[in-house]
Symmetry: C4
Subunit: 276 residues, 4 copies
Amino acid sequence: MERDQKPLSQDWRERLFVIIFEADTKMGKAFDVALLWLIVLSLLVVILESVPGLEAKYDRMLFAAEWVFTGIFTVEYVLRVVCVRNKWRYMSSPLGLIDLMAFLPSYFSLFSFGMQYFLVIRVLRLLRVFRIMKLGRYVGEAQVLIRALKASRFKITVFLSTVLTLVVVIGTLMYMIEGPENGFSSIPVGMYWAVVTLTTVGFGDITPTTTAGRALAALVMILGYGIIAVPTGIVTVELAQQSRKREEAACASCGCRDHDRDAAFCKLCGEKLGTG
Amino acid sequence: MERDQKPLSQDWRERLFVIIFEADTKMGKAFDVALLWLIVLSLLVVILESVPGLEAKYDRMLFAAEWVFTGIFTVEYVLRVVCVRNKWRYMSSPLGLIDLMAFLPSYFSLFSFGMQYFLVIRVLRLLRVFRIMKLGRYVGEAQVLIRALKASRFKITVFLSTVLTLVVVIGTLMYMIEGPENGFSSIPVGMYWAVVTLTTVGFGDITPTTTAGRALAALVMILGYGIIAVPTGIVTVELAQQSRKREEAACASCGCRDHDRDAAFCKLCGEKLGTG
Amino acid sequence: MERDQKPLSQDWRERLFVIIFEADTKMGKAFDVALLWLIVLSLLVVILESVPGLEAKYDRMLFAAEWVFTGIFTVEYVLRVVCVRNKWRYMSSPLGLIDLMAFLPSYFSLFSFGMQYFLVIRVLRLLRVFRIMKLGRYVGEAQVLIRALKASRFKITVFLSTVLTLVVVIGTLMYMIEGPENGFSSIPVGMYWAVVTLTTVGFGDITPTTTAGRALAALVMILGYGIIAVPTGIVTVELAQQSRKREEAACASCGCRDHDRDAAFCKLCGEKLGTG
Amino acid sequence: MERDQKPLSQDWRERLFVIIFEADTKMGKAFDVALLWLIVLSLLVVILESVPGLEAKYDRMLFAAEWVFTGIFTVEYVLRVVCVRNKWRYMSSPLGLIDLMAFLPSYFSLFSFGMQYFLVIRVLRLLRVFRIMKLGRYVGEAQVLIRALKASRFKITVFLSTVLTLVVVIGTLMYMIEGPENGFSSIPVGMYWAVVTLTTVGFGDITPTTTAGRALAALVMILGYGIIAVPTGIVTVELAQQSRKREEAACASCGCRDHDRDAAFCKLCGEKLGTG
């Protein structure tokens, strides 16, 4: 038969593909779980390398571990490229680039110090975790969140434009009122202060000290108080609308899917909906 | 009769059980109220013991009070174990363990200083207060809150994963931009800063000082602004769904489902509603 | 006629009552507006008296102004007591006590310095402003807010109990981890820090410096992130429910007033509702 | 024909009007896009001029650029005045005043240093950007936001009055408790602290240090916790009402009113909806 005719190597690639790229088989799932643990451990190594005290003590150990992980991820990347059909599409896809960035900075760090910290990009690989867990549930919930954010993108653009305009005006006013002698050393610093205050973060590294500056600051804070309510309101309303719809029920007559949970008839063509 | 046949001791245990474990009888309620006051007072003693000035002055008094409370709670625990049917189940239940931890650290503190502070675990016993107050009402409201949180646990997991990924990436970027000379002494410190900023807490113990760092910080804050809207939206929508209408009861006449919990008739067509 | 028989003095009191206590007549409204400006000015005087630089300069002027306002408010209080029917009920009502506290601290300040600052209680008198403005509208909106808060008082009690329990536990843990050498000088200070952090205020006067302390702080902040969503959710849901009801439409049959805006039939007895 | 009779100059003005004031034609759109880039660049120049290091280096370049932009905006303003019909109405309209303020401070800055910073008012001109982008969509969303804020203006007034009253009372109490020796140097400073704390900004430039002050601060923060929920609730409910259903359209058959904006048939009984 034709199937048996295939060279062994191709068959081997196909089996590898199922293991590396999919999570449905036992082997595929085991591979993904092992990979996740490797990513978590390698992230820990990168993070610990930056701690001054620890680095001195376990310098050699962390160095070795880093290169072991780099080796494993390099091999994994090569295997992925080998067994995938459309090599170029994988290599230029976001996932492929993240896989590449998971080990490339290690090699660059040989020539230029500091490059190794780009390895934290590995954290993005952790998002694969959703593939192993009961996928559908999480992806569904993530999509509700994403759809809610997408549906409110126009409102959010209007909102952000207003906030940015406010930041420029408030930042300049505070620079004019307080001046460099009170820490507001330039308009960009004033704008940084405006963002810190409007978002109610309030670091306190730069604070008004004149009476006029404090009066303006009080106004800005009360404004920020009201402003913080707007994105919350937008997201809440969109989430409420998203969670009311029942996605699965498409109208048999016109194909419209945007129905409320308690809908019995299609709102566009009046056709009776199936019992979803 | 058989009831009279029972030995006196068992009868005594049963009556004790009703007093200690239940709050329906007069004695039972009096016991619970007295216990609550004891817990509040004993908590005050533990907290006051930690205040430097006070401890020196009232050292002996606080010490004595602590041991009186420890004695009372020990006796109470023994009585509880004695009068309960399934002794092991009570002792290994969360409530039983909390009751045990309410006096055990006192004895340990004889050998190792600092153990006495574990006694604040007593605060968890205060949650019994709901048993005395009009129980149903509060438990019902607590259950609405808990059910709302439970129903949104998938959305919250997705949300927390995104936040954690952001924290790792932002923390590393800030460490690379600002560096140890500006207080970002390691990646974990950068991640701590990222959490402080994204949650809009903004202690200000570590703050960016370079222009690039401040620009990134401004971006992070505006991001946090939008992110804080998401959990609020999730909880609000779930609360609304939990506390709203009894969705199951559709009017037999017009199909309207949007009825209040105490509704007996359809608000749109006046038809009597079925007992949902 | 009997009405003419009344002595002149009583008639004078009645007319005074209409001017001072009511705002429907032209004179009554003028009196209320004048009173509001007096309150605002007298508040400004009290506030300005506390400013170090100003006080030295305008000492005598502020002192004189303060006594003029005290005199006016004393006369006003006497007039109110004279013309009101049930003198004792007015004097012991909250409004009467606030009117009394608007000038009494001035006299006490002659004997004990610092008493004059209690005069800011005058600010509460400003709430009378709602009587002058288009009353109904504002009182109605205030009642929606108050009813929403009242309806959620059980949920809020449950929520606050949880927060207080968290504050005690977190405060003690931070005291044990960080200790007095890092600013957490006692458990109450730790609890103060816990409140500052959970509410996302984040003063930064006390901050963790050990790694364990910062890790716990990060957990607390993410917890506070979720917790801040709960009261917002509660209030939003209640506000939504309050604003859906149409208060004015009472059922003619059973008297129930709790109907949705789109209700055509009473939900309790099925009676047709009047067109509200 | 009459049209040809018109003098050339008027025709030229009309064509200029279409280019400068409208964005429908190709030329008009190109003009608006060019203008936007000029505004952004000129804003950058004003902001960069305030940075100490940069100003010294590129002093002459920034100075020249500023005058080039001033020249362009002056010419643009003259052209606008020339080609508009009702010159006075344009010049006294907010848009006209903003256009004037986009270059006037440059001339004033020749006589008085510091005037040039008023040029940031140019940022307001950026709001024209919405005219170029798919206008309808953004203006529609902005109107939903504005209508939601307008509809809740009474509730917000009641809310702000309460907050202001709280700020005066809390500010005075903190001044009395902590006093000038702990940074609360006057009642206005205490009020500034109250705003910083109630809005959960929490700069930390002024913080309570006495036990009584910290206890009050904890109370204020928990209060602020609840208070922050109110504006969010108000805005969310109004946004939900604005963006929700078209309430006026009740189904003629079953009376259900809960329909989406794009619904043509009742979702409960399938009846055709009237054109609302």
